[in-house]
Symmetry: C2
Subunit: 380 residues, 2 copies
């Protein structure tokens, strides 16, 4: 399904894993990574600490202070390195590639990973920053974007997300797998090459914990029902905030959107994560995801900075009510202005937005013309 027969794994100069994923018919021939990289530490250099005041874990990764910061294009660490000496990707070309982050916030997940301690409410609790941080390059083309990928190429990325999710969910020390993309210098992206990241956290993230808590409370009040299915049914029935839909997925601006541009993409049936989706559903996800990103870039005269966040859950007792979905958000509040997270948002988590969800949904609906068959880019 994800061309797994063609996956090709190798090792970078400092021992990090790298895997190439290719489109049908393409072949990648990795070369040796000949860079004189310093050896990686034997244990994770980062730390996680429990905040007793909020119940949230925080990661402290001092090593990241020195990470690569806006290199010139000819030194891009994500472009192909035909001689094995100029970037993180030792090959003449590639379609999609995944490798361990050289400056990981979390690392060391695997068979010998220590378990996260149960936090104390009376004393400070800290632990090694166990987990996994991967980089996923969406294309070898430095100047393209996810929205501009051909459908088959985007479908390959979605398949790689699925493959990596399956692998990391099976890795000791990882509780939650988070595939995401930060796009745009406006939100601090230090490398412009089109890429995303995949985090394996040793804990459930605070937002996930919060959402699972609401879903659990909902199910207790409405036995057998699912909160997210209810929200989706309401959005479909109302329609005013729906941006796009196809057989298996619906994209809508949420009723209580926190960001000036915010779209949630829900599967129409209950699944916990990408590994539970069929091929046909993955096709539809690719289609509606590309459609949404293309609408984003048509909102203003410049490409939209955005964060794309895949919410995935384990089908276990704690996370069983979790409903896989993608949340996309942008800080751009007009052609010339950005929304900053200031006192109300940053200090109190109390969001105030300047754009009504219904107005943004209308803008996004009119931002793309349907194709001749009346259905924007459904032709997978």
């Amino acid at each position: 399904m994800t061309n797994s027969s063609e996956d090709l794994s190798s090792t970078l100069a400092d021992g990090r894993e790298i895997t190439f994923y290719s489109l049908p018919g393409n072949t990648v021939r990795p070369v040796e990574d000949v860079r004189p990289l310093p050896p990686r530490p034997h244990t994770t250099p980062s730390e996680v600490r429990y905040d007793r005041a909020t119940g949230d874990w925080v990661a402290i990764a001092a090593l990241r202070q020195d990470r690569t910061y806006k290199p010139p294009a000819d030194l891009c660490p994500l472009c192909p390195s035909p001689g094995g000496d100029s970037s993180e990707v030792p090959a003449a070309d590639y379609d999609v590639v995944v490798f361990e982050n050289r400056f990981p916030s979390l690392s060391g997940a695997g068979s010998s990973a220590p378990e996260l301690p149960t936090p104390s409410s009376a004393e400070p609790t800290s632990a090694p920053g166990i987990g996994r941080c991967e980089v996923i390059c969406f294309s070898s083309d430095h100047t393209t974007s996810f929205a501009e990928l051909p459908v088959a190429h985007a479908r390959l990325v979605v398949g790689v997300w699925r493959t990596r999710t399956e692998a990391l969910l099976a890795t000791d020390g990882i509780e939650q797998v988070f595939c995401f993309e930060n796009r745009g210098e406006e939100i601090g992206v230090t490398l412009s090459h089109p890429h995303g990241q995949i985090y394996g956290y040793p804990y459930l993230t605070p937002r996930t914990t919060s959402m699972l808590g609401r879903a659990e409370a909902y199910e207790q009040r409405h036995p057998g029902e699912n909160l997210f299915a209810r929200i989706l049914a309401g959005e479909v029935s109302d329609g005013v905030r729906v941006v796009a839909s196809n057989e298996h997925f619906t994209a809508f601006v949420p009723f209580a959107a926190r960001w000036p541009v915010e779209v949630h993409i829900y599967p129409n049936r209950h699944v916990h994560n990408l590994t539970q989706l069929t091929d046909s559903e993955l096709d539809d996800l690719t289609s509606i995801y590309l459609d949404t990103l293309q609408r984003f870039d048509q909102l203003y005269s410049t490409p939209l900075p955005y964060i794309s966040a895949l919410h995935q859950y384990r089908p276990d007792s704690v996370q069983r009510h979790g409903h896989f979905h993608i949340e996309l958000m942008s800080v751009r509040r007009s052609a010339t202005k950005l929304k900053y997270l200031a006192g109300s948002e940053s200090a109190m988590d109390a969001f105030i937005t300047d754009v009504t969800p219904e107005a943004m949904a209308a803008s996004l609906r009119s931002a793309a013309q349907p194709t001749a068959d009346g259905n924007a880019r459904s032709g997978l």
Copy 2:
């Protein structure tokens, strides 16, 4: 205490309240605000919506799209307006002034304010955006900053925070009073004149709700104890993260800091909000607050952008475990770099920081020299 005998209230051209607070011996003579301002809407133009997926309220204030954005200094709406025609403050000069925000995210609190509805988990819940948004100008000097205020002037601001907290806690439709300052263009501040804001929310903010939940759980496990008192005692005992202290207050970098620069200032005894502090305690708060801000500005060659957030609680049954404190945070992670809230933080609330709390505490401790009496600026 806050020179209340000298408070002078007036009304702006569109009916908004404005109150002048003066240093002893100073007199303000407001003039008429002669600007042809459009009338304010009779009902609040904003809306609050309940996010069923997280349990958080979100405010939608579309009117704020058109708010004043980085005006030139000679058009600053916070500078004095001697002729009553050039700014929001119709007077030849002032010390501290508070007025209702012309572009409020929340408004209409008072005797006829409707109550916030109990949210439904099954259906969308929305309500008028009842509340209060005030601007507090710290000084008439356009180019100064809070850190540069003379002690007596800073003490006046602290007293005004206290006075406004007392007034807004007694106002129908307001559940939580939040005094805060956003400082620096780096965090989106659109007016450089030194000022803060005071919000009266109709709900408890998400972070407050989260902290109260932890404090409640702590008290159930440790009857008669307070979580925040416990955290404070641990920080004082450990000492490694303490930045400054005086008789009544302690400033420390929290054990699980989320921001590269983060300092919490706690009173040494349990109080819920500013109104419960004695004059002597308000003096000490002023002293340690100025000291902390001055250390901030000595960290780098440029003034530090920061958010200052006053966490205040009602002494009622729901909020009784809340411990008044100030949380200060900055996005500056080095002399040349900012921390951006990207995928992990913005989408999952999972913070990753590049600076250890202990290293930042050491930097802040060495950032200011004590005065001759060995106690930085305690001479109130």
